[in-house]
Symmetry: C2
Subunit: 386 residues, 2 copies
């Protein structure tokens, strides 16, 4: 930066930075619009019209589109059984990006959903994100499940399982296998010969088994099911819908959530990029430091930002605050108008995040004692019927 400032005037540098961030916002908007168009997603407009009390993420546009939500909306409106499946690869503890997703899942549970949360330690291992099946299994029990419980899921209607400890999921995957051809799987996911057979089986059968699990007769299926997904996970949903039809199940609906920006500004919040994620079990001083040094949508120069405002849509501090800690969107308006600068905004974010982390972490001990209440043990025997 020093070199650039030497070559450019302060004004030129500020203008270039602003124009780069504006372009990023534009790319981001186009990405979601074009992808949604390409795969034929529907907007949530109609759902929002008819639902008396939509989720905050729907109102904010974080949850922005759906596929076939009608099946679930009908069950929701008529008090019929329906399910949500929202799994997770437990290679690291949950971060604030996961909190966003599971806040949406909690809202779905309030609307009547039975919730299934597969913790895919096998996926972590076969894709190389953990060194052993045991490493990710340990993270699941010691970090992820307690955090999920602390978020407030209802034990009566929430089923969590770690794949290695619920190997019935592999029987289900085998049961579904003859409805899936390698041709189709490679067509959907692309063909990666340097993969291993476990990763291929996970991707093309175990994942489908997890999505369709609530529809086996042990859980009173077939029934409408919705899967909250990022747009990059659409292929799984697509394959699961195909298989559901062949199996006489209800093709699962998709609810599409935007990615939460990583604090490093380099894309989706991710545990694998240093400085990207704020973990829920994070030391609060580290969380403070990550926010303090975070990328923002603002300008390096206060006067420039006061005059031109910040590009909040691509700002991780803005999305952090607005998605999690603000009731209305005033924080966005204050940024766009140049009224609030990044320093103050980060201060507020730190206050909110630290307070949330302290509260969350204070609940973990009790949550750890309740793990057993949430673990799914139901054997799946219906697949053996002749």
């Amino acid at each position: 930066m020093k070199n650039e400032l030497e070559d450019m005037s302060r004004e030129e540098f500020a203008a270039r930075d602003f124009s780069e961030k504006s372009a990023l916002r534009e790319r981001e908007r186009k990405y979601y619009a074009e992808k949604s168009e390409e795969i034929g997603l529907k907007s949530l407009e109609r759902f929002l019209q008819y639902h008396p009390n939509p989720s905050r993420f729907m109102k904010l546009g974080f949850t922005y589109a759906h596929r076939d939500l009608e099946s679930v909306a009908d069950a929701m409106a008529n008090g019929k059984p329906w399910a949500v499946v929202s799994g997770l690869n437990p290679s690291a503890p949950l971060h604030i990006g996961h909190k966003a997703v599971y806040d949406e899942v909690l809202w779905l549970q309030e609307q009547g959903a039975e919730v299934f949360i597969p913790l895919t330690n096998d996926e972590s291992f076969v894709v190389g994100k953990s060194k052993t099946l045991g490493e990710s299994r340990k993270v699941a029990y010691e970090e992820v499940i307690p955090s999920l419980i602390a978020m407030g899921f209802d034990a009566e209607r929430t089923h969590m399982f770690v794949d290695s400890d619920y190997p019935d999921i592999y029987n289900v995957a085998m049961d579904l296998s003859n409805k899936i051809s390698l041709n189709r799987a490679f067509g959907v996911f692309g063909f990666q010969m340097n993969e291993n057979p476990g990763a291929l089986f996970y991707r093309s059968a175990v994942q489908i088994a997890q999505i369709l699990l609530p529809q086996y007769e042990e859980f009173g299926g077939p029934k409408p099911t919705v899967v909250p997904v990022g747009i990059d996970q659409y292929p799984y949903l697509l394959l699961a819908r195909d298989v559901a039809e062949k199996k006489g199940f209800v093709p699962p609906a998709g609810l599409f959530l935007k990615f939460l920006w990583g604090m490093d500004g380099k894309g989706k919040m991710s545990a694998s990029r240093e400085g990207s994620a704020i973990f829920l079990t994070e030391n609060t001083n580290r969380a403070k430091k990550i926010i303090k040094t975070s990328y923002t949508g603002g300008s390096p120069f206060a006067d420039f930002q006061r005059e031109n405002g910040g590009i909040h849509d691509i700002c991780p501090v803005y999305t952090l605050r607005s998605y999690h800690f603000e009731e209305d969107n005033i924080v966005g308006e204050e940024c766009a108008s140049g009224q609030t600068l990044c320093g103050d905004c980060k201060k507020q974010a730190i206050e909110d995040v630290v307070s949330y982390l302290e509260d969350h972490q204070s609940k973990l001990e009790e949550a750890r004692s309740r793990v057993g209440e949430f673990i799914l043990k139901t054997p799946i025997r219906s697949i053996f019927e002749e």
Copy 2:
């Protein structure tokens, strides 16, 4: 046949039949010789020299070659632990061809082996040999396992499991997955895009898991292991040996058995060809009929056969008798010399088979009551070590 006999003299027909059967014997000899040469198998000559009491199948040449048997022979000679893995796809009851294999496994158990018998109902299903996982699972418990028990395995040192009911095998398969690339698997098995992900995972990971299971610490491994295989199963052994090395296990040895001829003379005895197999739970009248109408290595004309002898090496009745019911090879000599004709030979085969089936079937009820003693339940937890 009528047409051919009208066009040809009786002598011409007999000569052509004889020459066809001789050619078949030659092809058969060449097949084993070339295959063994191609994949570098060793003959059992040295083993037979040093072993005080080899199996009847080794003496008869039914068990004809090996790969790396030294590792097992050493454990056998020195009273160290070693294992045999001999699995089976339970899409149909056991037949006499399986009896041959398991007679060899019984001999190996007498020499000190711990025996593992995976009943791969998942394989039956994913390759389309049974309609549901339950169908082949039922055959495993109701037909296959009781027959195996009735053969005389020692419950203390024999572990049988049906894949669907021992899903730990899938955890083991996942644990081994990152040691196997799709590239390598497709190279070994050929690339079949119309397969399903379950079949691919079975072939390239679950099968390997079964072969290496005795080497996990739950069973006191690593330890020498031998797998009795047909030459067409060599790829699995090869892949298992690769994976064993990467995992720090002992590369499993292979003991190569010839195929038992089907009674229809159309190749390897198989449950899926009508008239090929004599099932161990077969009605004895049906067994009689199958033998009576069986293909043979003899001539349609008694005088021709008395003069020229029969081609016993390719005769299912001969292999049936010599492999199962004769102490020495006199039946082969009597056929080759023309001394015994097919009718008499079949009569003796019927007597032997019926007596064996009656004896076997009389043991099934007690065997059924003992299934629980043989079923493997050991959980595999060592794969979770970090």
